[in-house]
Amino acid sequence: MTEKERRELQITACKIRMGVIEGTYHAKSGHPGGSLSAAELFAYLYSRELNVDPRNPRWPERDRFVLSKGHTAPGLYAALALRGFFPWEDIRTLRHIGSHLQGHPNMNSTPGVDMSTGSLGQGISAACGMALAARVQGNPCRVYALLGDGELQEGQVWEAMMFAGHYKLDNLCIAIDNNGLQIDGKVADVMSIYPIADKLRAFGWECCEIDGHDFDQMEAAFAQARATRGKPFAIVMKTTKGKGVSFMEDQAGWHGKGPNQAEYEQAMAELNAQLAGLEAM
């Protein structure tokens, strides 16, 4: 990709991070850490990878995206708003009574959300069902899902991995946000899920490992995914939880709480500075 394209993606990721902070601040709750670690992925998917149409969010041949780690909805909502599925101002209604932005994604309330998720392990199975159904229907769409690394501890994930490998769902591509932290601490300490890629390959998947904050690596990974035949594809992304907000970075404590006013102001100041830096380039 060109320098300009890379910059545009970085700007989008930065704006997504602002949406995450904005939403979780006004909600006084929510999950900023894992939303920030996946900001580049959300930016890439909705800017370049997904074939979707915000004016026709239920277009049958659109690509599907399932946020299997549904608690990082603030990141998804910011990406959807930037892509034009609903007004940016809606972000401030996150988790409020009457808002279409539920604490976890609701396919029946939010335009652009393809599957209701939130209970870990279930979204990847639904994505498998979508990919299989698309094949049966002759629908050329592709199906994408994002999983957390802690989520891999759910047994159902491996039922789904087996299913996708068994049925050779090559229209399915997942990303795993390996930020290394979960609610109670380090994933490696709570219940190790490593090695990830070796497990996936053993389950019949094609796999690559990238820096989840690097758009060039992301572009190459998605290109490889689209070119892969006869196997589902997984992108294991090494990321930093809380990325982009200094005091949230690599802190398990920012998994599931909203910033207070002082924290909000500091986070927004940092992100505004990053944005200004990117836009000045």
């Binding site: 599957m115 209970s119 639904a126 069902g129 159904a133 039922e159 299913f163 049925y167």
Partner: protein, 311 residues
């Protein structure tokens, strides 16, 4: 007891599914290594491209079905009632019920009539579990005619449905040529004014026979087939309560959380009426032949008649 033909409702399900499959290419069927038992294999033989075995992984199967429904297909997902409603409860609750996806969960081998496999497989809690999920329609057919009609009605209905099917052959007793089935509507199979017996599933035939025994003893019992547990046909229950003054519920299910409690809840709020519930009395079953087990736990015409006489 061979005066009527017997067919297990799981057989009816497999046959109905195959029949529907020919006309409706949107039907896709999932099973969890029990296709020969749930009878989805009947569909699978006819339409191998639309039948998918998920292996012994019921939780994944329910969410896979949800994903297929989100793509506009009409999935039927089958396992034994124990594993469909029990193992996969939360998947059904969050990935099917909450998004109101158009998945038909058809669970076989329900109730005590599983027989020899014993308590681990005798699911007598599925009505309770499935009724508690918003958006879920819960049904249980009495015989082959009703089961086939119910599967077709479930296909035509848009939204999540749970159908409870049995392993053991049950009498085919409803031969009316004009038979039709409507979700949420019960039907009066025998008129009577002394007591109303509201039954579901294989207990309906026993209730009909119990009413005959009672008639010989001068007790006029109304028999209601309540094939839809949720939404309950409230009008029919209230009418029976108003006209008979006493209600007996019969189900091959725990007395906790099933038809009996649904009827009691309705009557307590709208028309307090004495009720006796016949079902599993908060206990696990044991291994044995289905027919003997049904008698052991009082799920038979003789016991229904006794309860009615003593009421």
């Amino acid at each position: 007891m061979s005066e009527v033909k017997k067919i297990a409702t799981r057989e009816s399900y497999g046959n109905a599914l195959k029949e529907l499959g020919a006309a409706h290419p949107d039907i896709i069927v999932f099973d969890a290594d029990l296709a020969g038992s749930t009878k989805t294999a009947v569909f699978g033989k006819a339409f191998p491209d639309r039948h998918f075995n998920c292996g012994i992984a019921e939780g994944n199967m329910m969410c896979v079905a949800a994903g297929a429904a989100a793509m506009g297909m009409t999935p039927f997902a089958s396992s034994f009632a124990m594993f469909a409603s029990g193992r996969a409860f939360e998947q059904i609750r969050n990935s099917i019920g909450y998004p109101r996806l158009n998945v038909k969960i058809c669970a076989s081998h329900a109730g005590i009539s599983v027989g020899e496999d014993g308590a681990s497989h005798q699911c007598c809690e599925d009505f309770a579990i499935m009724r508690a999920i918003p958006n879920m329609v819960v049904m249980c057919p009495a015989d082959d005619v009703e089961a086939r009609a119910m599967v077709k009605a479930a296909y035509e209905y848009k939204g999540p449905v749970y159908i409870r099917l049995g392993r053991s052959p049950v009498p085919v007793f409803d031969h009316r040529p004009d038979y039709s089935f409507t979700i949420g509507k019960g039907e009066v199979l025998a008129e009577g004014g002394d007591v109303a017996i509201i039954a579901t599933g294989l207990m309906v035939y026993e209730a009909v026979e119990a009413a005959k025994l009672l008639r010989e003893e001068g007790v006029s019992a109304r028999v209601v087939n309540m094939a839809t547990i949720k939404p309950l046909d409230e009008e029919l229950v209230l009418k029976a309560a108003a006209e008979c003054g006493r209600i007996i519920t019969c189900e091959e299910h725990s007395v906790i959380g099933g038809l009996g409690e649904a009827v009691c809840a309705l009557l307590a709020e709208k028309l307090p009426t004495p009720v006796k519930r016949i079902g599993l009395n908060d206990e696990f079953g044991v291994s044995g032949p289905a027919g003997d087990l049904l008698k052991k736990y009082g799920l038979c015409r003789e016991h229904i008649a006794e309860v009615a006489k003593a009421f």
